[in-house]
Amino acid sequence: MEDAEVLFGIYCPPHPQPLLSPDANHGYSKLRAAFETCRERIEQSDADLLIVYSTTWPSIIGHQIQAHPEPEWVHVDDDFHYLGSMPYKFKMDVDFAECLVDSAKSRGLHSRTIAYDGFPIDTGSVVALKLLNPDNRIPACIVSSNMYANRSETIVLGKSIRDALSKQKKKAVVVVVSSLSNRMFTEHIDPTEDRIHSPKDDEWNRKILEFFADGRLEDLSQLSREIHGQIRVQKVVAYKPAWWMAATMGQHNNYDGEVLAYEALHGSGGAVVTLTPSTGSVGDKEFDEDDVEYYHGDRDVLTKGML
């Protein structure tokens, strides 16, 4: 099988401010401008589809793939409802979604397509698709983030996306929608006074962005557990975006990275970054955690050793 073709990857934040209130703070408008730059680059590319992995779409039953041909609704965020509504109408690549479900299943994952009128597409996916692909020039595919999935399952999901791209001979731009540090202020703030929640979060975010700028995607993937412990609020079992992004784009450090913006979003770390496959590796790390090709499901550790 031919190798998958990912033209480039985008890492961007899920919060609605760049879409709904870009002028409320200088940082929000810089993030908005960075989204615009990415939009232009997508337009200039010959991508066949956008593949979105959003941390704000949690699933429980395996991996859900959006497959409604034209999902349409008016979305409102749970926290930031006062910033306004987000009407959307997107175009999905249904063929690709179905192919991806098959690919995921053949690697041992439980997966299904989702195609229901009124299905609530999450804030992160809505923000990303409205800003990156406003005219639905190319179709998209949105995949959920299973709340119980950890490293193996997430990496296998990424690989199954590569399988589907190869099978369909499609060129993709991949989009990861996730904060860096994700601790927000627990109070309502004046947006002009927004800043990263703590110096520690800020320092870690900048460290991550150095890796991104150096194109060290696999190194970030390997550092995911550390990142989770240091700067992620413990909502889910792990920080998974870098695992997914590396497995989907290719697990190495051969990328040209560009940090287009890094700003605070109600205290969390919002960055817009691009990674483009290149040649010439950088990095000084090697790791002993085995790569994984197939997901074997739960290991039933809980039921072993019970009376």
């Binding site: 429980i60 395996g62 409102v76 609020v233 039921t303």
Partner: protein, 301 residues
């Protein structure tokens, strides 16, 4: 004006499966039933509610998750369709909900006085969460009473289950004060499962009861520990061990609903009415109620 009061507190789990199994006209998918132990318990509690005089249902929901304070629905009517993001195959429910905005505002005001960060939700496009809809549908399928929905602030994520317990209790006390001053009779609803580990696969027929069981035995033992304490009327003790229960069983009590309701009701020292316990896709679900009126309080199961 006479003082308002809490006339009943209900623990009302919201797996959408129970609505799906009931086949109400509002829900698009059609089922062959399922989860009867839970549904029949719910049906009985709904009959009891019909015999009680009350003005509004106040519900605390884990599926309106807010990180910046506690939010309250703040418009008189919401009419739309709720599609469950996790189980869209079984829950696509057309709703038309009336909100008691006065009571919601009173609660927000009291909570704010107690130092809790609050916000009224006044965006008409906002979709009411499926936890609210499921619990309210099962308790009052006629939808003939207004509701107040309170979001769950994710203290357990940001701090710890202990902090969640303290903050949810403070919110409960504030809501109780607001109810008293409002002069209204209110039914409180804490909407959640107990143990909350799901199976990550689903059988082709979701209502195939031959496939339904608790995720593992330790979840069951913990759930039964809580049921025992409820029967014994030891709600203070139960809330004290809730952080450990929540951690051990990744329980949906993490959102704070039970603590909120028990604090509002003054940590009842009388027996809870137990209506039914059953697993749904591996999670432990209990329908129970606390009746402050000793004359109408029953031993149900």
């Amino acid at each position: 004006m006479p003082k308002g009061e809490i006339v009943l507190g209900c623990l009302a789990p919201h797996p959408p499966h129970v609505v799906y199994a009931e086949n109400p006209e509002q829900n698009e998918p059609v089922s062959e039933g399922g989860w009867e132990t839970l549904r029949w318990g719910y049906n009985r509690l709904a009959r009891k509610l019909k015999s009680i005089d009350y003005d509004a249902l106040v519900i605390f929901t884990p599926h309106w998750q807010t990180y910046i304070g506690t939010h309250f629905l703040g418009l008189p009517e919401f009419k739309s369709k709720s599609v469950d993001p996790v189980f869209p195959n079984i829950f696509r429910y057309n709703y038309d909900i009336k909100v008691d905005v006065d009571l919601a505002e009173k609660m927000r005001e009291k909570a704010s006085e107690h130092g809790i960060i609050t916000k009224m939700m006044r965006n008409q496009d906002f979709r009411v969460d499926y936890g609210t809809i499921t619990s309210c549908h099962m308790l009052n399928p006629d939808w003939d009473k207004p509701i107040v929905t309170i979001s769950s602030n994710r203290n357990a994520h940001y701090y710890s289950a202990e902090v969640m317990n303290e903050q949810a209790a403070a919110l409960g006390r504030a809501c109780a004060e607001a109810i008293e001053e409002s002069g209204k009779k209110v039914v409180m609803i804490s909407s959640h499962s107990l143990s909350h580990r799901h199976f990550v696969t689903e059988s082709p027929l979701p209502e195939d009861m031959s496939k339904e069981h608790i995720y593992n035995h330790s979840q069951y033992v913990w759930d039964m520990k809580l049921v025992d304490l409820m029967r014994e009327g030891k709600m203070r003790e139960l809330i004290d061990i809730l952080p450990e229960f929540t951690e051990q069983t990744i329980a949906e009590t993490e959102a704070g609903g039970l603590t909120w309701m028990m604090a509002a009701m003054g940590f009842p020292d009388y027996s809870a009415e137990i209506y039914g316990y059953q697993s749904v896709i591996g999670t432990g679900n209990l329908v129970a109620a606390w009746d402050p009126n000793s004359v109408t309080r029953e031993i149900v199961l």
